[in-house]
């Protein structure tokens, strides 16, 4: 199987879908001539031309709105935001329009738009460029929120997102673009709303999404050396959430640690924890633990930044806490 990077996987997904369906097009800042701020759309302008790979001005509210309108008119836009931090400017289009039009028009109109781009912290980009805002979008009924953690998942999920008739928030991890992984040559799709067991284990379930999956996997590997068997579950889509896979794992291990890069208060892990205690109350042998980003704006200072993001040590400690070790 071919080893390709996360950004190549995304590129392949868009390319394949644009070839398959001529209504699909890509727009956003720097997606064309510059080949993408993070080089995700490399080669696409040459391949599909200026009508289908469209550079936009720095005006998030405007071009996301254009995307919503295009979707309403029958096209299937992929709108790249340079980072999800900037998509806050387009929140009115996303929250008030994309998410609600199908509902408000009684199903007579649909908005098959994918809004995608990097989220989360990278290296020292400071408070306004290092945010994990998935909880904001997942909070809104009408939006689907997808967060792939591997090249394989990124390609399969993005293709499903493009084919979905509803607005999909597709949050990539800035630090994962260069990550390589196996992606098959042949076509495949990963349905939205299906979690993935990234590692099987017996003692504790660690639920992590996006970049944090890799932190969880490293912690699991280190804990295995201490004789602790950790199961790592990646929901892959925050909404719809595959609770069945989570519950099955919790019923097996009786202990849960949820890891997320975002802030703790009203974070997505809070929702996971609620659902688990609601449905698996009699299967829990310890309170559900969360490991989250620090409840502060992201510091610019390198050491402080590191301290504000969940790391292997903190996950290991949380695992031991739920094991009462």
């Amino acid at each position: 199987m071919a080893q390709i990077s996360y950004r190549e996987a995304l590129n392949q997904a868009m390319t394949e879908e644009m070839e398959r369906d001529e209504r699909v097009f890509l727009m956003g800042e720097e997606v064309g001539f510059y080949q993408g701020a993070y080089k995700v759309s490399q080669g696409m302008l040459q391949r599909f031309g200026e009508k289908r790979v469209i550079d936009t001005p720095i005006a998030e509210l405007g071009f996301v709105g254009v995307g919503v309108g295009a979707a309403l008119a029958g096209l299937r836009p992929i709108v790249e935001v340079m980072t999800w931090n900037f998509a806050i400017l387009a929140a009115d289009q996303i929250v008030n329009h994309a998410a609600k039009i199908r509902y408000m028009f009684g199903g007579q109109a649909k908005v098959p738009i994918v809004i995608r781009g990097p989220g989360g912290a990278a290296h020292q980009l400071a408070a306004t460029h290092s945010q994990s805002l998935e909880a904001w979008w997942a909070h809104v009924p009408g939006l689907k929120v997808v967060m792939p953690s591997t090249p394989y998942d990124a390609k399969g999920l993005l293709k499903s997102a493009i084919r979905d008739d509803n607005p999909v928030i597709f949050i990539e991890a800035e630090l994962l673009y260069g990550m390589k992984g196996e992606v098959p040559e042949e076509e495949y799709l990963i349905p939205l709303g299906v979690a993935d067991v990234k590692r099987e284990g017996e003692d504790v379930t660690v639920i992590a999404h996006s970049k944090m999956v890799h932190v969880a996997l490293r912690a699991a590997a280190e804990l295995a050396e201490e004789g602790i068997s950790v199961e790592v579950i990646d929901p892959r889509t925050i909404r719809p959430l595959d609770t069945e896979t989570l519950f099955r794992s919790v019923r097996k291990t009786n202990r849960v640690v949820i890891v997320e890069e975002g802030w703790p208060f009203a974070g997505v892990g809070a929702e996971f924890a609620y659902r688990i205690q609601r449905e698996c109350f009699d299967d829990l042998d310890a309170p559900v633990e969360r490991v989250t980003g620090a409840d502060v704006p992201m510091p610019y200072n390198k050491n402080l930044e590191r301290a504000a993001i969940p790391d292997v040590e903190r996950v290991k400690k949380a695992v031991k806490r739920v094991l009462y070790l």
């Binding site: 009786n254 009699d282 299967d283 009462y324």
Partner: protein
């Protein structure tokens, strides 16, 4: 005059009981025989009847509380009767009610002598999983010591309690001097394979096979007479009562093929051969050597074969084909003085005959009281194969043969 209802001793071994549910509330009218409450004992859930009528003036034990036998549970008397003195005599605090009604509810009156113990319903720290496991296994969380933070009981603590049920109790509540330590109370041994086989087969029978039982009393006078007269005729081998019964059963089976049958996988097999198993007690369990074609053999032959099989069974020398494949079984505990019992069917046979002791009894003969030999036979039947009437006819045939034992000789 107010009376105190106490936790009754509802079984010989009962030391304490759980007040599961009050059927009547304070202020309710009570008549003698009314069900006051439901009580859980070590054996069963029972209903607590009122022995006195009146009004239920006060409930002293909350639902879910476990209290020793003799603990005051409630007071029954006349409405408005002054029971303060009575309560004080029982050591129940009474003043709180007037001060702060909610305080009474929040702090249920503890029966005397219980202060040192934790009581069911009191807050016990336990994980939800531990609670569920304890509930399913019938483990009392209050008796466990938790290994989690601040003594929280968790899965592993309950599992430990399930695998060693008495030990954790000792940990929190030291046993009185007189009580033997768990190790002395029993010795745990690995059952022999034979014991395991008996256990498996008997539960295999009793659970799925719908048993029913019929008993007759047989006049054994003539059998006793017969045995006396032929006792020494067979030479080296003694003919036992059991041999005579075997022969009678075999002949009766010939006439009642439905008793010589098996229910196997939804079909009924009527066996063509009459092969009777005889339960032989060994130290480790029991085994049923088989007399093949029992109906066609003479009493002497049966006696000789039985003697040989029994001897070799005691020495564990039987070959498998000698103790498997019976079509009916006879189990005789008469030699132990057992007058009557019900045996569990050895599957897949349709019946087993339990033979009690032949004993001298006062009997009515020609309207006169006389002394006669009697034995009680109990037939256990697989209701999937035979019904009561079929079984009764068979059993009556066995009786007829035994009461006319000369017919066994022809």
């Amino acid at each position: 005059m107010a009376v105190v209802v106490q936790m009754p001793r509802l079984s010989d071994t009962m030391e304490e009981g759980v007040l599961l549910k009050w059927r009547l509330g304070e202020g309710a009218k009570v008549e003698v025989g009314d069900i006051l409450a439901e009580v859980e004992t070590d054996k069963a859930n029972m209903e607590l009847e009122a022995f006195d009528g009146g009004t239920l003036l006060k409930v002293l034990v909350q639902e879910g509380q476990r209290v020793p036998v003799g603990t005051p549970l409630a007071i029954i008397g006349e409405p408005g009767e002054d029971i303060e003195a009575l309560l004080a005599g029982l050591g129940v605090p009474t003043v709180r009610r007037r001060v702060e009604p909610t305080a009474v509810e929040a702090e249920p009156a503890k029966p005397p002598g219980l202060e040192a113990q934790r009581v069911v319903g009191e807050r016990v720290k336990a994980s939800p999983l531990a609670r569920r496991l304890a509930r399913e296994a019938g483990v009392d969380l209050a008796q466990l010591k938790g290994s989690g933070p601040e003594g929280r009981i968790r899965k592993r603590d309950v599992e430990a309690a399930i695998s060693a049920p008495r030990a954790p109790e000792e940990a929190v509540r030291p046993a009185p001097e007189t009580q033997a330590r768990p190790a002395e109370r029993y010795e745990e041994i690995e059952p022999s394979l034979m014991r395991l086989a008996v256990a498996r087969r008997m539960s295999m029978s009793k659970a799925p096979v719908p048993h029913f039982y019929l008993t007759v009393e047989v006049d054994m006078d003539k059998v006793v007479e017969l045995r006396e007269s032929i006792k020494d005729m067979a030479g080296d081998v003694k003919i036992t009562y059991n041999d005579i019964i075997l022969k009678a059963v075999a002949l009766a089976l010939r006439q009642h093929p439905w008793m010589n049958a098996s229910y196997v996988e939804g079909k009924i097999r009527l066996h063509k051969q009459i092969d009777i198993g005889v339960a032989v007690a060994l130290e480790e369990g029991l085994i049923t050597p088989v007399i093949r074609n029992c109906d066609g053999k003479s009493l002497g032959q049966i006696a000789r074969e039985m003697q040989d099989l029994t001897d070799r069974a005691q020495n564990r020398k039987l070959k498998p084909e000698e103790y498997t494949g019976a079509t009916f079984t006879v189990s005789n505990l008469g030699m132990y003085g057992i007058e009557e019992f019900s045996a569990i069917i050895n599957p897949p046979e349709a019946g087993i005959l339990a033979v009690g002791a032949i004993a001298k009894k006062p009997v009515v003969r020609d309207d006169q009281l006389a002394i006669g030999y009697r034995a009680r036979l109990t037939l256990s039947c697989d209701h999937r194969v035979v019904d009561g009437a079929t079984a009764a006819r068979f059993l009556n045939e066995v009786r007829r043969l035994l009461e006319n034992p000369l017919s066994l000789m022809v």
